[in-house]
């Protein structure tokens, strides 16, 4: 096995890792603020991919506006879901099991709606950037699409971190996550903070779906595996920590890709979940684990 082959495999792992990171960051953000696990998160990833497919393939809209339309539609869907279903739940206060039941139902609803509307045939989106880039005299090659995934993910994650750490909205999100009652006493409209958080979280999943759609085919069930993997990355990195989800995503992505190289394709999930199990033994709160803050 050559060094360049290994480098390429690690690079593939990083690409995969960034897509997990985007999905996981959304899940973690949501857990950090609303203390709920969104079991329909993977389906927002799927809906994002379908919106992009609709725009680009069916609507024949050029790629960049098509992607933007996809993200906007997904964000609008999240807004609708939040206001119609999650908000009434938040109003009840301490919600126990209900978010799991709600989001599981939403997941089934979204998958079957996609099945009814778009059919069960797998759909394809052309590569957004159909070129191959070579580095180090051709020893490392990467397709433009994969490079684009890395770049877009990095930009989106950076943007997210700036929003959370540096802006007034970010302070409101963190304050609401850490002490909702007192944040509201200071004038924060915690209801809108929850809505904004849900929309950001879902849009992150949709962006991941849109970016990965050209590599994997678009189908109603594409979100299920991503959902579980994204959650695994969150738990590995520390549920509630956005940085943790990113690190967890990269670890699992690279580990999967390496296990395909050294073992076989069938082993990748085994290795990924093995890392998770070991982590739960060693440090159940995850790498960046703390009191469930953002």
């Amino acid at each position: 096995m050559s060094v360049s082959y290994l480098t390429n495999q690690i690079l593939n792992g990083i690409v995969l890792g960034f897509s997990y990171a985007l999905v996981g960051a959304g899940l973690s953000l949501l857990w950090g603020t609303l203390k709920m696990i969104n079991l329909a998160h993977g389906d927002l990833y799927m809906m994002g991919a379908y919106f992009a497919w609709l725009a680009i393939r069916v609507g024949k809209i050029p790629i960049i506006p098509g992607i933007i339309i996809g993200v906007i539609c997904a964000a609008a869907l999240c807004l609708f879901i939040q206001i119609s279903t999650v908000r009434p739940l938040v109003r009840q206060g301490d919600f126990g099991m209900s978010p799991y039941i709600l989001t599981m139902g939403l997941s089934i609803l979204l998958q079957n709606t996609a099945l009814l509307v778009y059919g069960e045939r797998y759909q394809n989106i052309p590569y957004y950037l159909d070129k191959v880039y070579k580095f180090f005299n051709g020893s490392v090659t990467i397709s433009g699409q994969r490079l684009l995934i890395i770049v877009v993910s990095l930009v989106v994650i950076l943007f997210l971190m700036i929003i959370i750490k540096r802006t007034k909205l970010g302070r409101a999100i963190r304050a609401t996550a850490q002490d909702r009652e007192f944040a509201s006493m200071l004038g924060v409209n915690t209801k809108s903070v929850y809505t904004v958080t849900y929309v950001i979280s879902g849009s992150l999943a949709a962006i991941a779906g849109i970016m990965l759609a050209p590599i994997y085919s678009v189908n109603p069930w594409m979100g299920t595996a991503v959902q579980t993997k994204g959650l695994a990355c969150c738990v590995l990195g520390g549920l509630g920590s956005v940085e943790g989800a990113i690190v967890g995503g990269l670890i699992i992505g690279i580990a999967e890709s390496l296990s395909v190289t050294f073992l076989s394709k069938e082993w990748k999930d085994v290795v990924a979940y093995l890392i998770l199990i070991v982590m739960l033994w060693v440090k159940p709160s995850g790498i960046f684990g703390k009191r469930g803050a953002v």
Binding site: R171, A172, A175, A183, M185, L186, A293
Partner: protein
């Protein structure tokens, strides 16, 4: 400035406050004394609409505020520094202070308020990028008070600011309150268990027992009153 007229408050079906009336005049420091479970915090929660009173009137600057939601209190000019401080533990000291000015958009006003808070509590400036949860108890209390000062409040309500703090730190905090009263004309409604200290720096005081006000009067008179001495000052 603040007038509370015979409020009755409940937790569930149990009545906690019975016809509590009190008044805080402009520029005063007024202390609410009483043992644990006397209803001091409940009174404050009723005033701030966190546990609304079932009946009675609450007026701030002669306007009814019984129905004003608690998140509008900063706009009115009322700051609450709650029991247990309620800082955001994983946010930096500076971010905590900035949260105090959440409702404001004027950046230069926010920055000058921040500088003023750092002036009063220089310790907070040293620790501005540290997470609030890692501060010592006294520093946390300073941070909580500082956060309350960010809106230049007319009235500041403090719930047990001395709880669990070393006497030296408590003195520092009370010195700061007196400075704010004399220099910036801030009005204070104070809940304290440390009756001696609270009375020494207050203008007037109320003593609560079983959800009712039992004694009210000038702080200095209370300090010399046999009744208060026996019950609260341990003399």
């Amino acid at each position: 400035m603040l007038k509370v007229k015979s409020i009755n408050a409940f937790y569930g079906d149990i009545q906690i406050l019975h016809n509590v009336s009190l008044e805080v005049g402009k520029g005063e420091i007024v202390t609410l004394l009483g043992s644990n479970g006397a209803g001091k915090t409940t009174t404050i929660k009723a005033i701030c609409n966190l546990n609304p009173a079932k009946s009675g009137e609450i007026l701030f600057l002669d306007k009814h505020i019984e129905k004003t939601p608690s998140y509008k209190f900063p706009h009115l000019g009322i700051s609450l520094v709650p029991e247990g401080r309620h800082l955001f533990p994983d946010m930096s000291v500076k971010d905590n202070l900035l949260m105090g000015a959440y409702g404001q958009n004027d950046k230069s006003a926010i920055n000058s308020a921040l500088e003023e808070v750092y002036d009063i509590f220089p310790r907070l400036k040293e620790r501005s990028s540290q997470q609030a949860g890692t501060l010592s108890g006294g520093e946390q209390q300073m941070c909580a008070i500082g956060r309350g000062l960010m809106i230049h409040p007319m009235l500041m309500i403090l719930d047990e600011p001395s709880l669990g703090l070393a006497p030296v730190i408590v003195d520092k905090i009370f010195d700061a309150l007196k400075l704010l009263q004399t220099r910036d004309n801030v009005t204070f409604l104070l809940i304290e268990q440390n009756a001696q200290l609270a009375l020494e720096c207050s203008n007037r005081a109320y003593v609560m027992e079983n959800g009712s006000i039992v004694i009210e009067g000038k702080a200095e008179e209370m300090l010399s009153s046999k009744e208060v001495q026996k019950a609260y000052l341990g003399l």
